[in-house]
Amino acid sequence: MEKLFQKVSFTSASLVLALLLGIFTTLFVAAKPAIDEFGLKFIIDKRWNQEVALPSDILNAETTPTITDEAAVDEDEIIDEDDEMILDEDEDDGTLTKTVYGGLVPIVGTLLSTIIALAFALPIAMGIAVFLAEIATKNISKFVGMAIELLAAIPSIIFGMWGLYYFAPIIAEAFGGYQVSLLTAGLVLGVMILPFMAAVTRDSMNTTPDVLKESAYALGATKFEVVKDIIFPYSKVGIIGSIILALGRALGETMAVAFLIGAVYSMPDKITDPTISIPVAMAVNFGEASGLGESALFYLGLVLFVLSFAIISLAKFYFLKKAK
């Protein structure tokens, strides 16, 4: 019995490893056709689901791609069906076309929306953390801390809906541009990671020994000086770790962003333009994709997985370990 229990518990623990390897392998295998087809250039190619003319003869080597617009999703299904790059005789001008998928637009959209979210959430989260750790009395800190944690518990789809119907119109009014845009998506994402970031930062700040703070106060330091010169240097590494952890969360967030980013494959010229992010591309296009298109989405998923894995590992193993 003892042996059995030990075996079972060992197996369950190993399941985590198996799952992670399984996720990675499965994504890789599913993405393989797209990886073979586009290679690493995928991540710097900004065309998604576009038909590109192939050189019909050698003279025509420098072809100008005939680009159809983003709405071509449905037309391309026929071409994609056979899991293979099908060369199609284009009836109009007799040139061969193929469909090209590149991940640059969703990758840039993901990074930019995350950066906007961080830029918005960071100062507020720091302020809240300082308030909770240093300024508020115990009861107020408890109450506000609880409220902030409840904010973190609200499902992300609620943030998306609220953002679309209540927050975005105000932002669009203030900054111009579209209601669904990189900016509104980034800001709502910022509101969403705010409580998480504040809570983890507060925990880091709370690790500062009271003796250090008290000594500084005894020397006549103001609260600002204590935070700046004592708490911040002491918990710096932990705070950076928390920020990166929040960044990792923001990268992979789907629902809050799906409502607001616009879900169009176009490179934004301005911050108020609509675009798309990796999770949103997967959420929106997965259902209708097949063949190479689906494989390209798995490729995007793999990129996201590796990216967030790297970022979270960095936060956990470098910064947060060091902070302990």
Partner: protein, 267 residues
């Protein structure tokens, strides 16, 4: 000057806290006004096909509960291994991996489950949704179990061993009992979190307009339906989405508060 800077600093910090609370209030008030305005008793009696939410609420609960039925025991036993049996590097390695998985993008987990349980099967099914949710839940449960067991004093274990109990008896009868409240809280928080998930269900269980307990077909999900309804142009669909969001949020927050309440009462 120093005092002025200090005042400005304090004001800014309090201002940030106000903004944070302001957002919470804004979202909750919006939900209350929109949700209560569209809330009727008939929503709980009809299915989505007749303009109600009954099938979705039941479906979401079934998905989350069954995911818990898989995720909670697996996560707990794995957490026990890491804390009680694991020696050295392997246990630490698994703990780190589990921490990373806790923050893995949920949509990627959805895509993984799609590749292993939806595509080969030939269509969306409730089982796939349950698998996706339980994969999200396992690392959270491991994390809580692990940290709650670490709070149990070593003397309790030694006392059990000294009485001649075998190790697994000591763990199940003494250590787990001592950490019961903390683990319970962790389970409730994890449950609240996965009950509100949308992304892992989008292409695994999808959703259904009809009442169904058949896990081999696409399965009604409250969150996925909120997403669909909110994107529809008709005002009636959006009202329904708000009502559904209200119900979902109330459900999630109650479970969450319940979890916190248990811990506080114990202390």
């Amino acid at each position: 000057m120093r005092l002025l800077i200090n005042k400005i600093f304090l004001a800014l910090s309090i201002f940030s806290a106000t903004i944070g609370l302001g957002f919470l209030a804004w979202i909750l008030i919006t939900l209350f006004i929109q949700g209560l305005g569209s809330l009727h008793l008939s929503l709980f009696l009809n299915d989505l096909v007749d303009g109600g939410l009954r099938n979705l609420i039941v479906g979401q609960l079934i998905l989350a509960l069954l995911a818990g039925a898989i995720g909670i025991p697996l996560g707990m036993v794995a957490g026990i291994y890491i804390r009680e049996y694991g020696r050295g590097k392997y246990a630490a390695f698994i703990r780190d991996l589990s921490d990373i998985m806790m923050s893995a993008p949920s949509i990627v987990i959805g895509a993984f489950v799609y590749a292993v349980a939806v595509r080969p099967y030939g269509g969306a099914n409730g089982f796939a949704g349950i698998i996706a949710l339980s994969i999200m839940m396992i690392p959270i449960i491991i994390n809580t179990t692990d940290s709650m067991l670490s709070l149990v004093p070593k003397e309790l274990r030694e006392a059990g061993i000294a009485l001649g109990a075998s190790k697994y008896r000591v763990i199940l009868d003494i250590v787990i009992k001592a950490a019961k409240v903390g683990i319970m809280t962790g389970i409730l928080l994890a449950f609240a979190r996965i009950a509100g998930e949308t992304a892992p269900l989008l292409f695994t269980s999808e959703t259904s307009n009809y009442f169904s307990v058949d896990l081999t077909e696409s399965f009604p999900s409250l969150t996925v339906s909120i997403y669909n309804l909110a994107n529809e142009p008709e005002q009636s669909s959006r009202d329904l989405a708000w009502a559904a969001s209200f119900i979902l949020t109330v459900m999630v927050l109650i479970i969450n508060l319940l979890g916190r309440y248990i811990t506080r009462n114990k202390k």
